[in-house]
Amino acid sequence: MLARALLLALAVAALPGAGCSRKRATPAPAPARSAPSGPPFSVAVEPPTSCAVGAACLARVQVTALGAFHVNREYPYKIALVDSPGVATEQRFTVDSDQRGTVTLTCRPSVAGAGPVTGTLHLSVCSSETCVIEEVPVSVTLPGS
């Protein structure tokens, strides 16, 4: 249920008409570091603003560790992508800070109307008390392809 809701919300966020810009995602405000009462992380999808056929465009999936949690630098963050006909993809994960990491998805549509690019983000965040390994559905619509 939660996974379905997340997928739906992420897909909506990625819609061309949603007015997505290329500015970096702004994560939800982090609660006090000592006592996260909700999620230990947030995921934000920043789709490309345009993505012409034959051109490379970038989408970013940003993970923010909340509260006392930090990005697990040892974990192989990745998006397990479902086949997206007409779109070639590459991905790269970078740790931006203790609290933030980004999967950059390079998409290159070969046909008009390609996409969306969907998959499951594999992530891990840890605190001094525990680690969390999670899988979050993500979907990126490619505008203008």
Binding site: L2, L6, A9, L10, V12, A13, G17, A18, G19, C20, S21, K23, A25, T26, P27, A28, G38, P39, P40, F41, S42, V43, A44, V45, E46, T64, L66, E74, Y75, P76, K78, H122, S124, C126, S128, E129, T130, C131, V132, I133, E134, V136
Partner: protein
């Protein structure tokens, strides 16, 4: 209602709970020379005698490392509530591994260095994990953390392989896939470092890769 330019979504699944139950005391005796603690200790132990210890298993039976001299020994730092341990035993490189090698005469000991009240310390949780994963090797309780610190065990799982002379021959990760399920191996090919070390030792060869960086949860030592 305006559409936001960017939507941030948070997702949470339940965090592993931390038990507060106080399990039975276990006695840890560690060789006096083993002070342990620094992060570089596992590598420094390679080729040196493994710190000796006597610990109790989940049923209160004492197990002494010295009594296993002459055998290849695998030490596996253990926390049944750590998701990396769960994945390794449920799907990853630790599935059936201990039983497979114990059948050939290898001794395999899991060691839980979690302090009372910390994640994974609870006796019944440990028993349940043993049953769930059909473990046939002992899980030893090191509640003071003395043995874990003597080896510099930093993660769960953190693996050590001792040769038949009782020297540390391998220290590090169980494999080269830090997702704990073998789906993201560094270099593209999954390598089980413990199996490789045991194979080298069984063939009378030096261990080709004696040290790797362990991955997983931090060991939940007490203060």
């Amino acid at each position: 209602m305006p559409t936001p330019k960017l939507v941030t979504l948070a997702a949470l699944l339940a965090l592993a709970s931390c038990s507060k139950k106080q399990p039975a005391k276990a006695r840890a005796e560690v060789a006096p020379s083993s002070t342990g603690g620094p992060a570089g200790l596992p590598a420094a132990l390679i080729g040196h005698p493994a710190p000796d210890f006597t610990l109790k298993d989940l049923d209160g039976n004492e197990v002494s490392l010295a009594a296993l001299r002459g055998k290849l020994v695998v030490l596996e730092w253990f926390n049944p509530e750590c998701p990396f341990v769960k994945r390794s035993h449920g799907k990853g490189s630790l599935v059936g591994l201990a039983a497979k090698h114990m059948a050939t005469g290898v001794a395999w000991l899991a060691i839980n260095s979690g302090a009372p009240g910390k994640q994974g310390n609870d006796l019944e949780v440990n028993r349940a994990a043993v049953a769930q994963w059909s473990l046939t090797h002992p899980v030893l309780r090191d509640e003071t953390g003395a043995v874990g610190r003597a080896y510099g065990a930093s993660n769960t799982p953190h693996m050590f392989v001792l040769d038949s002379a009782g020297k540390v021959a391998y220290a590090g990760a169980i494999d080269n896939s830090p997702d704990a399920v073998g789906e993201s191996p560094t270099g593209g090919t999954l390598v089980n470092h413990v199996e490789a070390a045991l194979s080298d030792l069984a063939a009378g060869r030096p261990v080709a890769t004696p040290v790797t960086k362990a991955y997983g949860c931090g060991v939940k030592y007490g203060s």
